[in-house]
Each structure stands twice: as structure tokens, then as C-alpha cells.
């Protein structure tokens, strides 16, 4: 995997693909698979649009290797916007990649907070400690935030922990649940329906709408989980409110 450094970096310009998604959105694919390279292009693209905003572009939805751009359909056609974006993308190499913050997330993996732990362990003949050790051993990349406010897609989970989604998603996953699915892991910021497997819970509030909105995690961050006891969980829960 090529290592992209801050500052001037050579980036292949041939790869982008533009696809209209609706009459007011345009999808830009920076790659056709999940990779660090595509992710870094997505981040550079967002930072460039932030630095040089386009008029009548209303919103952006980044993902693993694509960005959905929402625009005013009375001011732009897809072709016009594509041309304007191609011009910016040609300068992506000059956009410095912000240094990754490392965010520590305390998580309690004890039984009461980990409804799927027993099954995951049983399938492998493992102890919960082994799962916890594996989950907390790696720092994860925040590929993007999506689904609901503050939900960060983190990867990659060690292969040995890869789990299929639940056949029937839960109607409500408790807020703060630490979950895994495939080679991904995440924290559910709110009580939402969810099909990922739950192995713990954090007392942190992952998203706050107050004061203009803030999320514990942002695209490009790295995340390190830290195992805490149930007592610590309750203690931290008070201060996190």
C-alpha cells in the first residue's frame, strides 16, 4: 500500500469516476475498493472543498472510497459540476493530509454490556479476554461517519474477529454499544436498530447536537479502545453526561 505523506504527493488522476445519483447529487468514486489510498483521496477532497467551497454545493457525504456531493439543481448540471470538481481534484496532491488524531475510547466488555460476546467466544472456543485483547490491540482508522450522527466506520478489525451481521437486526441497540461486523467495528451513538454484534459499551457520548454539533470522532482519526471495568463504566458515565 503506498504511503502518502503530508504536503506534495503524487496522486494518480485517472481513477475518479463520476456517477449522477439523483437530480441534485453526484457521486465521485476515488477507487473501487476499500483502501488507505482511496480513503486519503476522500479526506483530501473534503479538505479542498472546505478550503475552496463551491457555490450552491449544499452537502457532502463521504464514505470508504466515494463522496456524494449534493448541489442546487437549479444552479448546476451534473456535467458542469463534474468539470468544476475535476479541476479541484487535479490539485488534490497539493492538499496536506491532516495528521491523524488518536482518540481513546473506554469500553466495558463485561457480560451486561456485551450480549453477543458469549456466542462469539463459543464459536471459536475462546475466552472473552482473548476477544478483548484482540479488539484493543489495534488502533483503527475512522474511514467515515455515516448511517446516523456520529456513527464512525472503523477498520480494519483483525480477520480472526470477523463476524457476519445478525440475520435479524435488533430493533434497538443501546446507545454506546461497541459492535463488530465483517472487518469493521463501531460505536452506536444512539439507540437505533442495528445488525452488528455487540461486544461492549462505552460510557462516552459519541455525538452532541448542542453548540453547533460535535462528534467524538471525525473522518481521518484513529481510534484505540481501552478495556474498563463495570465500576469504571458507571463512574465515567456520570462525567460523560
Amino acid at each position: 500500500m503506498p504511503v502518502l505523506l503530508n504536503g506534495m504527493t503524487k496522486i494518480s488522476q485517472s481513477g475518479e469516476r463520476f456517477v449522477p445519483a439523483s437530480d441534485q447529487t453526484l457521486l465521485i468514486y476515488f477507487g473501487e475498493s476499500i483502501s488507505q489510498e482511496a480513503h486519503e483521496l476522500v479526506v483530501r477532497f473534503l479538505r479542498l472543498l472546505e478550503r475552496e467551497p463551491l457555490r450552491n454545493v449544499r452537502n457532502v457525504h463521504p464514505a470508504y472510497c466515494s463522496v456524494l456531493v449534493k448541489f442546487d439543481a437549479l444552479r448546476w448540471t451534473h456535467a458542469e459540476l463534474e468539470a468544476a470538481l475535476r479541476e479541484r481534484i487535479s490539485r488534490l496532491g497539493s492538499v496536506p493530509l491532516p495528521a491523524a488524531r488518536v482518540v481513546e475510547i473506554p469500553a466495558c466488555y463485561e457480560k451486561a454490556y456485551a450480549p453477543d460476546m458469549a456466542e462469539i467466544c463459543a464459536r471459536r472456543g475462546w475466552s472473552a479476554e482473548r476477544v478483548i485483547a484482540l479488539h484493543t490491540a489495534t488502533s483503527y482508522q475512522v474511514y467515515f461517519l455515516g448511517f446516523v450522527p456520529g456513527f464512525a466506520y472503523l477498520g480494519e478489525l483483525p480477520e480472526e474477529l470477523a463476524e457476519a451481521r445478525l440475520a435479524t437486526p435488533r430493533r434497538a441497540v443501546p446507545a454506546g454499544s461497541v459492535a463488530i461486523a465483517g472487518r469493521q467495528t463501531a460505536v452506536y451513538p444512539f439507540a437505533t436498530p442495528g445488525g452488528w454484534r455487540l461486544i461492549g459499551r462505552t460510557p462516552m457520548r459519541m455525538f452532541r447536537a448542542e453548540d453547533g454539533g460535535s462528534s467524538v470522532l471525525a473522518i481521518g482519526d484513529r481510534v484505540q479502545f481501552r478495556a474498563i471495568s463495570a465500576e469504571e463504566f458507571l463512574e465515567l458515565e456520570k462525567t460523560c453526561r
Partner: protein
């Protein structure tokens, strides 16, 4: 400050404006009125800026008591409304006296009705918008649906007092000129909810089998009970997918029609997830979004494919009519 007392909240009533755009990077969907056209027109009827906050009611309307005199308008679905004992006409501004009670019943047509009051519903804006995002408990009144006993403040909302009609006077017209303002015939035609939804081709239309388009565009779908502001789940002919494996999650547009494993399409709506991993066969055009807000469970709908040029032309036409007080009101 004048207030509205919630005597009965109705089935699912929230404070909504035109939504919060620009926070996609944080996973925040725009939310806002499910039938934005009705909210915009309701605000215009009472002399507010189009984006002022109003109440969105679903299937069953509420009962509200007004503490002080004011001007209100009801738009969207017709819930059959009375101000004390006098029936209230839809799509027309009307005066309310101090202490009067506005009472509504179940829907007679459509799914969502709007109550707009002159001055707007005053709630703290969250990320630039008054709209409620129920799932995350964000915005609106305490981030939730209204309950009996809630007290909503009127007026003081930024933008609510913007002059409508960009009038030559340069200020909001006097109260008496608003009374009896009524939507024109052309305006009524504009807001009529369509059951044949016009769509553009989706970004993964090549993920579906050769029979899929004939099915999808040829047959009718039924809106199921499991539909809400996040999405409309449909039942009908299975849209057959090609065995192409799993898609990589990507940003999803409002009105996207995604097809999960079951083959039953889901139309993503105002409180939609911002990203998703199911292929999209089509996308409802912007000019028809308001119709989605009026769909009820068991309604039958169908889809008609249009090109980008047509989608834009229809939106332009809609906005041109909305931009003209002369054409919009009698």
C-alpha cells in the same frame, strides 16, 4: 411571549423547518418537513419567511390552544379542523383570538398536515435548523415528538419575519392584509400529491436483472406500515438483483430507492441514514419529494422514469410558481 398549549399532540407531531444541510461529514441527515412544499406555502400564507418552523402532524392532528391573537394557516393533509366551533379552511390564512382552541381529527386525505403560525414556532436552532431529528433526539422541541402539556413559544425566530413577496414596502405586510390569503388554483395543482412518482435512474441500476426494470416500472407497489420519516418500505413485485456480491457503502441521496436482500424497495426519506450499502435502482426527482410526505400505509404507488433534463425542468417550473405571489395566491 405568545404561546401554543398542546392539549392533544396528535399521533406524531414534531417541529420542522426546511432541514439542516451541510453536516453530512458527521453523519447528520437533513431532516426537515416531509412535505416541504406544504410547509413553505403555509409560511407564505401567514407572512413568514418560507423556512420558518411549523408543526408537522402525521395521520391524526392535534388540539392546540392559543394564548394570544395571531394568524395561522393549515396546509398539507386535511385533518378536518375547527377553531372553537368554526370549521377552518385549508390553504388559507385565518385569524385566531386569544384563548381559542384549534382542534383537528384524523386525515381525510394524505399523511402530513402543517400548522404554520405568523412568527413561526420558536425553538433553539440546532446546527442551523429548528427541525426535529427524532432518532438522535436532535432539534425541534426537546428533540422529540410533542406531548400533551407542552408549551410552544411563537415568534422571535430568525427569518420568520422576513418580508414575503419581497414586497415593495420592504417589510412584512400589515396583519389585516394577510387574513383570508388563499392558495390559487395553480398552487393547488402544484401541491397535489402524486401517486405516480417520477424517478431518475439510480447509480446501481446495472446491478439488477434484465426483468427488473419491467417489474419496477410496470407494476404497482404498496406503502407498508413500517414506513416513517427515515424511509418508506414498499411491498410488491420482487426487484431481482444480479449476483454481484456486496456493495461498498456510499453516500445515499434523499429519495434514493434502494433494494435490500428481500428485493422489496425502500425509499430513503428526510431522516434517512446518510450512507448505505444496498444498490439503488432509481431516485425520486426533487419536484416529487413533497408527494412522498403525503403517502400513507396501504397507498398504491408506481414509478415513471424521466431523464435529468426533465427532472430539472419540472423543478424549475415548480420553483417559478413558488417564486410568484401573484400566481400562488388568489
Amino acid at each position: 411571549m405568545p404561546v401554543i398549549r398542546v392539549m392533544e399532540p396528535g399521533m406524531f407531531t414534531t417541529v420542522q423547518d426546511l432541514g439542516r444541510e451541510g453536516y453530512g461529514e458527521m453523519g447528520v441527515s437533513p431532516s426537515g418537513a416531509a412535505d416541504a412544499l406544504s410547509l413553505r406555502i403555509g409560511n407564505r400564507l401567514v407572512g413568514n419567511g418560507e423556512g420558518a418552523a411549523g408543526l408537522e402532524m402525521t395521520l391524526v392532528g392535534g388540539t392546540f390552544e392559543f394564548s394570544e391573537p395571531g394568524t395561522l394557516a393549515l396546509t398539507g393533509a386535511d385533518f378536518g379542523a375547527w377553531l372553537d366551533d368554526v370549521p377552518v379552511e385549508m390553504w388559507r390564512s385565518c385569524e385566531v383570538r386569544a384563548g381559542q382552541t384549534l382542534r383537528m381529527e384524523g386525515t381525510r386525505d394524505g399523511a402530513r398536515g402543517y400548522l404554520c403560525v405568523r412568527g413561526g414556532i420558536a425553538v433553539a436552532e440546532v446546527m442551523g435548523s429548528a427541525s426535529t431529528h427524532v432518532l438522535s433526539g436532535m432539534g425541534g422541541f426537546a428533540g422529540r415528538v410533542l406531548r400533551r402539556g407542552d408549551v410552544l413559544q411563537i415568534g422571535g425566530q430568525a427569518g420568520a419575519e422576513q418580508p414575503f413577496a419581497r414586497s415593495a414596502l420592504g417589510k412584512a405586510p400589515p396583519q389585516q392584509r394577510l387574513a383570508g390569503r388563499i392558495l390559487s388554483t395553480a398552487g393547488r395543482k402544484l401541491v397535489r400529491a402524486r401517486k405516480k412518482l417520477r424517478v431518475t435512474v439510480g447509480p446501481q441500476s446495472d446491478w439488477f436483472g434484465p426483468a427488473a426494470p419491467r417489474r419496477f416500472y410496470g407494476d404497482a407497489y404498496r406503502v407498508t406500515e413500517e414506513s416513517n420519516r427515515m424511509g418508506l418500505r414498499l411491498a410488491g413485485p420482487v426487484v431481482e438483483k444480479l449476483p454481484r456480491g456486496e456493495m461498498i457503502s456510499e453516500g445515499v441521496a434523499s429519495g434514493a430507492i434502494q433494494v435490500p436482500e428481500s428485493g422489496m424497495p425502500i425509499i430513503l426519506f428526510v431522516e434517512q441514514q446518510t450512507t448505505g450499502g444496498y444498490p439503488k435502482i432509481a431516485n425520486v426527482i426533487s419536484a416529487d419529494f413533497h408527494s412522498l410526505g403525503q403517502l400513507r400505509p396501504r397507498d398504491e404507488i408506481s414509478f415513471e422514469l424521466v431523464d435529468w433534463e426533465m427532472a430539472r425542468a419540472l423543478l424549475r417550473e415548480q420553483e417559478a410558481l413558488l417564486g410568484s405571489d401573484e400566481r400562488l395566491f388568489d
